[in-house]
């Protein structure tokens, strides 16, 4: 690149950012309509979802109770599905394959039936015994316990959220910025919840942990934005917001890429990790939107009003 073109790109870059700042200054309040519309949609969806399922999520057997069997043998899963579908309650069958060779490693059968019944039905079909720890693994959760776990994890998320909110309030000591941070965390979780439901993912205990992780990751960038925009005074407000955006987007993108790569490599092997990574990537995606579209507008609005009052 010679000097001239470098200068040209430099100026066009500047022009673009100037134009963007102008546009944003004029329209940032209007931009808030996008999250509002999205939020209304999410609320409507969840309302409808709750009416239909009388629950917030589709739960897998670790939260409803039931049995999950991993059989490390070569099995034709279509045939197996046909054979056991009438005999086991709400049965779901999947296979695990090697990442490279695509060779079938194991078959996972999930059902609401209890352990002994599941074992018997499968052994009848396979014609050989399933020996735990040798050719198969069993995971059984009693239905009462599953229900209990579910309730407790919801409570855990609620407590976590409240504790987080308290810490944020102590940190900023002002209502609007604190609410913006907390609201953003809530929106991240809520929108992720809707996305998970739309994708039809059955959430396990690990999945609920992932929602908890979203709180942590969401708050990071919001604290960064709020601190830089409101607690500092060098440069213009736009400059400070843009600075924090450059930092924050790098933070979220590194996390997002790391999680996506982990998802591709480990995902096929472990339902637990695959679900945590999936939910986290969705959450991180929404966090980019909620922080840099919604929260930036709220903070800008708040800062300009404060300036006027002064």
């Amino acid at each position: 690149m010679d000097e001239k073109t470098e200068q040209r790109t430099e100026t066009s870059k500047q022009k673009f950012s100037e134009r963007f700042i102008k546009f944003h200054d004029k329209n940032y309040k209007l931009l808030l309509f996008i999250p509002v519309i999205l939020f209304v949609f999410c609320f409507a969806y969840m309302f409808n979802f709750y009416q239909k399922n009388s629950d917030f999520i589709y739960r897998d057997i670790s939260l409803t109770g039931g049995t999950s069997v991993t059989i490390s043998e070569q099995i034709d899963i279509d045939d197996l599905r046909k054979a056991v579908s009438g005999k086991l309650e709400s049965v779901d069958i999947r296979e695990i394959s090697d990442l490279v060779t695509r060779e079938q490693i194991a078959v996972i059968v999930e059902t609401k039936a209890d352990k002994s019944q599941t074992q018997k039905v499968l052994e009848d079909y396979l014609g050989y015994p399933l020996v735990e720890g040798e050719n198969s693994n069993f995971e059984f959760t009693g239905s009462v316990l599953g229900e209990d776990f579910y309730k407790q994890l919801l409570i855990a998320i609620l407590i976590a959220f409240c504790l987080m909110a308290i810490v944020v309030f102590i940190q900023f000591k002002t209502l609007v910025p604190s609410l913006a941070v907390i609201g953003c965390a809530f929106a991240d979780i809520f929108m992720t919840l809707v996305a998970v439901n739309i994708l039809g993912i059955s959430v396990s205990t690990a999945g609920i942990v992932a929602f908890l992780m979203i709180i942590g990751y969401s708050v990071d960038t919001d604290i960064l934005l709020t601190t830089k925009a409101l607690k500092r005074d060098e440069g213009s407000l736009n400059r400070r917001i843009f600075d924090s955006f450059k930092t924050g987007i790098a933070m979220t993108l590194t996390s997002l890429f790391a999680v996506l790569i982990a998802l591709i490599i480990v995902g096929p092997f472990s339902q637990i990790l695959s679900q945590i990574f999936t939910i986290m990537s969705i959450g991180l995606g929404f966090d980019i939107f909620n922080t840099w579209v919604t929260n930036v507008s709220v903070i800008k609005w708040y800062a300009s009003r404060k300036k006027k009052n002064v």
């Binding site: 069993f138 995971e139 316990l145 209990d148 855990a156 942590g216 604290i223 472990s270 945590i276």
Partner: protein, 521 residues
């Protein structure tokens, strides 16, 4: 030139602290009790066995067998299986650091060995394989002391049964329910479910009168091997049918129980004869959890006599003779266990039971490592794209790797098992670490009037704020769901706490050095 160079290499106390913590973490991971020793470690010795009598104990390291050096568990089992392939009595010399142990037997020594662990890290069941059961009382809410009693009885049961690599503990959840958590590493015992949850109420009755029950009050000891216990006959009643094998073992009654036996049998008549002799009119019925398991004839000679020795018998079956023997052995072991340990005070219910095979675990660990390296690489790439300076790529990578080591080191010290949720926790901690480092890098890189030091100090404000919010949001997980997700919370908390206290300050100083050098250049 020279003084400047020296200045560059001068490390601040924060960097020193980081290095020291890192070294301590490495020590706690890699310096094991059997550091630098070669051989196999004894993980289990059956009590009252020849091996036990000869002084072999759990935890000892076997270095030689019959003069052959042992490097791993494979070497050991190869020598043993070759030596005991013929059913002949042979001499076996086992060398440990405690000395040489000489065994004469026609059976392999009753010990289990495993490779010497290379690290102090203990992987959780979902990585190393094993079984985990969560147990609670049926229709009853247990108190803290009740659950502790239960834990003692069950631990004892497993001990008597001969499984040592096990943890039994009480756990509670957010709503104050107590559970018993049983974790067994390695292979899942066949009758795990019965061992854990079967109440094991054993009663020996003549007619309607109870003579004795299981437990130490009535039974002083139970023969487990040798002449007084074992399988004595096998048969196949119908050709092409199942095989049946019979076992018997002697138990020793307490004085009270023996007197009871005398009183009850005194009034019985001897009116039943077989070719082997005469027997009393009523039998000794053995009940397990109110189900009749066997009825024993009482020989005429025992009528009204105070006898402390009673022979218990039973049988097992199977399609092949070897299956029948195995079944009978398992049933005998089970019955012996229950007779010694007595019945459980409550009716129990297994509410969660997971078994994980060790095979999947190995493959899994490999993929997790690949994923970790790939994820670190992607982080490096993004940082390079953002700053275009190779020098700034290495500190974050170095810090991230050191954070993983520190988390593992601390987990080895506090004996927190590394399970899947723990791995997710490490990931969460590292992710937060990267985020914080980017905040600090960005502050340091800005061209402003403030000094690097001041700018990094400000970045620390954001880092601390984020730390406290993350830390408090993890606290509920320490208890929710009977603590099964505790691994996640613990690992993340270790990671972010050491991050804020040790690695981020060190990172700040490293960045300062780089920037200062940059500025002076």
């Amino acid at each position: 030139m020279l003084p400047e160079k020296r200045k560059m290499f001068k490390l601040t106390w924060k960097i020193w602290l980081w290095i020291i913590v890192l070294i301590l973490a490495l020590i706690s991971i890699f310096i094991t009790p059997n550091f630098l020793q070669k051989g196999v470690v004894i993980s289990e010795v059956e009590k009252n066995s020849t091996a036990f009598e000869q002084g072999l104990r759990q935890g000892q390291v076997i270095s030689e067998v019959d003069g052959n050096k042992i490097e791993n568990a494979g070497d050991f089992s190869k020598i043993i299986s070759e030596k005991f392939s013929l059913n002949e009595s042979v001499k076996l010399t086992i060398k440990t650091q405690q000395g040489e142990h000489v065994l004469y037997s026609n059976l392999p020594p009753e010990i289990t060995v495993s490779n010497i662990p290379k690290t102090n890290l203990k992987t959780g069941l979902d990585l190393s394989g094993g079984a985990r059961a969560l147990v609670k009382a049926k229709d009853e809410k247990l108190t803290h002391s009740q659950i502790n009693d239960l834990v003692n009885i069950i631990s004892n049961r497993f001990n008597v049964y001969g499984i040592s690599d096990i943890t039994v503990k009480s756990v509670s959840d957010l709503s104050g329910n107590y559970f018993m958590l049983v974790e067994i590493a390695g292979a899942t015992p066949r009758d795990l479910q019965e061992l854990i949850s079967q109440q094991g109420k054993f009663e020996a009755k003549i007619g309607n009168e109870t003579v004795f029950i299981g437990g130490e009050r009535d039974i002083t000891s139970v023969a487990k091997s040798g002449q007084d216990a074992g399988i004595y006959s096998c048969s196949q009643p119908q050709s092409a049918g199942d095989y049946f094998c019979n076992f018997r073992f002697t138990i020793y009654l307490s004085e009270d129980a023996a007197k009871r036996h005398a009183e009850i049998t005194r009034d019985l008549e001897a009116n039943y004869s077989t070719p082997e002799g005469n027997y009393l009119s009523q039998k000794l019925d053995l009940y397990l959890d109110d189900k009749l398991v066997d009825s024993l004839l009482i020989s005429e000679g025992l009528k009204g006599r105070i006898t402390t020795q009673v022979q218990i018998s039973g049988s097992g079956s199977g399609a092949e003779k070897s299956d029948a023997i195995k079944d009978a052995e398992a049933k005998m072991k089970h019955l012996q266990t229950i007779l010694i340990t007595g019945s459980l005070p409550f009716n129990l219910e297994i509410v969660k039971l997971d078994t994980i095979s060790p095979k999947l675990g190995d493959r899994f660990t490999k993929y997790i490592l690949i994923a970790a390296i790939a994820a670190l690489f992607s982080v490096a790439t993004i940082i390079f794209i953002k700053y275009r300076r190779l020098k700034l790529v290495f500190p974050p990578l170095l810090i991230c790797t050191s954070e993983i080591i520190i988390i593992l080191g601390v987990s080895a010290i506090i004996r927190q098992d590394l399970d899947l949720s723990g791995i997710a926790g490490i990931l969460a901690a590292i992710g937060t670490g990267i985020d914080d480092q980017i905040v600090m890098l960005d502050e340091a890189e800005r061209k402003e009037s403030l000094t690097v030091k001041q700018r990094i100090k400000r970045a620390f404000g954001i880092v601390l704020g984020a730390y406290f919010t993350s830390a408090v949001s993890l606290l509920p997980l320490l208890w929710a769901g009977a603590g099964l997700l505790k691994g996640f919370a613990v690992m993340t908390l270790i990671g972010i706490t050491f991050g804020v206290l040790i690695t981020r300050p060190a990172f700040a100083d490293i960045i300062k050095k780089i920037e200062e050098k940059n500025a002076s250049a």
